[in-house]
């Protein structure tokens, strides 16, 4: 599954980092980074992250 974050609407709530720490994280500069191609074992976490994002910035496909 592919993971994309629309950085034009992401407001850095960081909820995705909490819900799916293996997929989303902050880099040293505090920016959001994520794994763009995830395997089946990470899908549930990524979906939870997408639901937890108050800006609906995470697109899974």
């Amino acid at each position: 599954m592919k993971v994309h974050v629309d950085m034009s609407i992401c407001l850095l709530h960081g909820q995705c980092v909490i819900a799916a720490p293996e997929v989303f994280s902050f880099d040293d500069a505090g920016g959001l980074v994520w794994v763009t191609e995830i395997d089946d074992s990470q899908v549930a976490d990524a979906e939870a992250a997408s639901d937890a994002c108050p800006e609906q910035a995470i697109i899974l496909g």
Binding site: L11, L12, V17, I18, F26, G30, Q56
Partner: protein, 405 residues
Amino acid sequence: MADPRITIVGASLAGLRTAEAVLAELPQARIMLVGDEPHAPYNRPPLSKDSMEALAGGQAPRAEVFEKLLLRSKIMPGQIEMRLGVAAAGIESGNVRLEDGALLRSDFVVAATGIRPRRMPMQGAADRRHVLRSFDDAEALAQAMRPGAQMVVIGAGFIGCEIAATARKLGLHVTVVEPAPQPMLRALGHRVAAAMAALHRRHGVTLLTGRSVETFEAERVILDDGKALEADVIVEALGSRPNTEWLAASGADLSDGVLVDDRMQAIGAQNLLAVGDLARFANPLFDDLPRRVEHWCVPGQTAKRAAATIAARVSGGAPAPDFAPMPSFWSDQYGMRVQAFGAPALAETQTVVEGDLTQIGVAPIVVEYARGDHLVGVIGLGAPPALIARYRARLMDALCAPVTA
């Protein structure tokens, strides 16, 4: 119960997330989602923030503003039935009666009807008094938010403070009237609340604390000390009332929202569950006192829980273990994010662990909240998420450690 009929009342965040979670657990369930608003489920937090600014400033047409608020959903057309623009009127033998007379036969009813703003009982100034909960409320208020207008906000909770901040940005003159000594006092505690008061004043808000409204005249708000405030726009942001009238005959405890157990089942009503802002439940992370929690994260958390409960009851499976979700909320004021985890409202003491409260809005601040010796919450003020994340982890460890006291 092969194909259970599940009626979800309230077509907003909690209702939609419940429908999704039930479908994921029980694909054969027959789900009916009922909502009294004419709109498809949408997101409320931007209504006091960006969406309000966009509607009032006229930068974007209303349809475009609404489009951005629509909640994206995993539900495919035809997977559930939706009845929008019709309210539930009552419960009859466990079934839902709609105001148009229809009776929805239900094996389970999920109450997701949320809350509505409380209003001042006094008459007067009806042409300029507003509340903010729905998109329609936001549109009406936005129309009145003209640059240079005099706005009086009654109540300095989060919604009142966010409206004040947005109104300042739009060029209104803003006075906030609050009976408590500080804004957002219960949620933030006195030190952080005092810093937030300073932030509002720095941005030109006249903040009258320890004051309440006595009466409304045609174009003025009269306070308890006799002071008269000119008002082109009045916003009542006094807190909320749970929408439980339709549940009067359900047998549930409705003393403040719907009292539910740790599986979201209403106490006193077999087949009723409640989710979102409406549900009053205990969180074992803190104690055993049931509380309603009006945070955006709660609908998602309680929806999953309710769906798991329904699935377990349908299949006769075992109940899942304890429900102890980590609360979080945020607020945006003057471009500064307030981000909280845990339950700062339960704390007795506050410790600034990063930055300095006099630097609010300028430099990052993190504050830890404790009850006795136990951390119960953390709040970041303009703090980068990566920084707050470290303190959230500390809080998580503290809350999950066995209590020895």
